[in-house]
């Protein structure tokens, strides 16, 4: 009996040991497999956004292919990040690929990040933060904030120092940058465009660099309000030309507020920005004189601003209404009074959005355009009006004619 007990114990111990060994083997295998899946220090990620839709103008309507904007993020280390965005668009039946930005950010310290390359300028908040289609609450960009008619810069090549830090019970953020800056259209090719600025240049036309920056203040502890002040200044004329000393001074003020309105079971999101571009006085060839010998001058100062509100009754009990967001925007653009390309336009856009999830939205909007004062130079003014129609695609409005009023149904997705 005693022997039996000893033998049994031995067998049990053996089996137990075997089982334990088996568990250990499994654990080793699982650990090995997990290690194989462990992500490396350098990370690659593709994000971006896309949109398309239906646009209905007075005499035409069109489904628009919209655009597809992939953003490539390459994180080399905890301090180094590359970001690059392409814009793939359909334009007049052609696929157009544009480089929105490509830059490298290096985290220098808690409150300072160095950025080099081509980047979105923090000149206000629209270009820097709000333009992606799934973030912009309306299907179109405000007047003066479109690719076709810009009052103030959006992207440029250069170096930037930026960061954010707590201050008191709130926060501040800052950006300081040196970039190529815009170039002046001297009106040599088309006299009607003399005095306009061209932004986002890959090569500078002079030795002078444009210097700018933004200071953002978030006075409240919950980050719900931000007020920003931006400025940029630099020479815009070609070296060795009579415009060599012509410079542009640009200013912007922006406002942002997101507030939970408990009484309305809603969230209110307000964004606003005012841009001003002043180019120092210069004489340009008068477009009225066919011989091209007469010169004229004007006060080269342009303004653009918008205010937009979005009210989302997110906390009501209705399953449809809680995903809806009511939107409205007013924008106005006044281009250099007295210039051949002068214009004064206002635009009201309103509608509603249906959110399928946090980054997928269907937008419905009606847009009313109004051109108040035509330039003294007649035809020239009309031309610019067409360029600045404000339609997202201008598929139907076309260049050269005012876009008039329009309906938009767009869907957009962020990924």
């Amino acid at each position: 009996m005693k022997n039996m007990a000893v033998i049994c114990t031995c067998i049990l111990l053996f089996l137990g040991g075997g089982l334990f060994a088996q568990e250990e083997n499994e654990l080793t295998e699982i650990t090995t497999r997990l290690n194989e899946l462990k992500p490396g220090k350098s990370r690659f990620m593709m994000r971006g956004y896309a949109h398309s839709g239906l646009e209905i103008y007075e005499n035409s309507s069109s489904f628009v292919g919209g655009s597809f904007n992939p953003i490539f993020l390459w994180q080399q280390s905890e301090r180094l990040l590359f970001e690059g965005e392409l814009e793939v668009e359909l334009e007049d039946g052609q696929t157009v690929v544009g480089l929105e930005y490509a830059n490298i950010s290096y985290i220098l310290s808690k409150a300072a990040i160095l950025r080099v390359g081509r980047f979105l300028l923090p000149f206000g908040i629209f270009g820097d933060r709000l333009h992606p289609r799934w973030i912009n609450r309306l299907p179109t960009n405000p007047l003066g904030f479109t690719h076709d008619a810009q009052v103030g810069p959006t992207t440029d090549m250069g170096v930037e120092l930026r960061g954010g830090m707590p201050m008191g019970t709130g926060k501040i953020n800052y950006s300081l940058y040196i970039v190529n800056g815009p170039t002046l259209n001297e009106g040599m090719v088309d006299a009607e465009e003399g005095g306009q600025l061209h932004y986002a240049n890959y090569n500078d036309n002079n030795k002078n660099k444009a210097v700018g920056g933004r200071l953002g203040i978030l006075p409240l502890n919950n980050s719900s309000v931000e007020i920003g002040f931006s400025g940029q200044r630099g020479k815009v004329g070609d070296t060795d030309s009579e415009y060599a000393d012509v410079s542009a001074t640009m200013l912007a003020v922006d406002f942002s507020m997101v507030k939970n309105l408990t009484a309305l079971n809603s969230v209110l999101d307000v964004k606003a920005q005012w841009n001003q571009v002043s180019v120092s006085d210069a004489s340009y060839i008068s477009p009225e004189d066919p011989t091209g010998t007469t010169e004229y001058t004007f006060e080269n100062k342009s303004n653009a601003w918008f205010a937009r509100a979005a009210l989302k009754p997110a906390y009501v009990d209705n399953a449809v209404l809680k995903n809806i967001e009511f939107t409205g925007r007013y924008s106005r653009m006044t281009l250099a009074e007295g210039a051949a390309w002068a214009t004064d336009q206002t635009q009201i856009t309103f509608g509603f959005n249906y959110w399928l999830d946090w980054r997928t939205v269907i937008k419905f909007a009606y847009q009313i355009n109004d051109t108040a004062a035509e330039s003294d130079h007649g035809e020239g003014g009309g031309r610019t009006t067409g360029l600045t129609g404000g339609g997202a695609e201008e598929a139907a409005g076309g260049h050269g004619e005012p876009s008039g009023n329009a309906f938009f149904v767009h869907w957009s997705i962020g990924f």
């Binding site: 994000r47 990040l81 808690k110 409150a111 709000l130 930026r162 830090m165 800052y174 210097v211």
Partner: protein
């Protein structure tokens, strides 16, 4: 002359910011006491809806949040806490 003035004021601004940074480190505001969940909610909605934490993996969140640290000028402390929250909640 004007360019000089601008450069001067920008240098002044840099100096001021450095001072503020120093002050920010010295006086511990209310901000540093906040937790990741709250910072995630408050900061993301400044521009877009607060993302579902499930949208990305831990590794992806690190990259995405770093991207937003640069773009939206989040503070270092906020970024760290937001990443920690998203990794926990995904």
């Amino acid at each position: 002359m004007k360019a000089l003035k601008i450069s001067g004021s920008i240098l002044g601004l840099i100096f001021g910011i450095s001072l503020l940074t120093a002050a920010g480190c010295a006086t511990k505001g209310v901000q540093p006491e906040k937790l990741g969940a709250q910072l995630w909610g408050e900061n993301c909605v400044r521009c877009h809806n607060a993302p579902n934490p499930q949208a990305f993996s831990d590794a992806q969140w690190e990259t995405a949040t770093m991207h937003m640290r640069v773009r939206a000028s989040l503070t270092a402390d906020e970024t760290e806490k937001i990443v920690a929250f998203l990794k926990m909640a995904n």
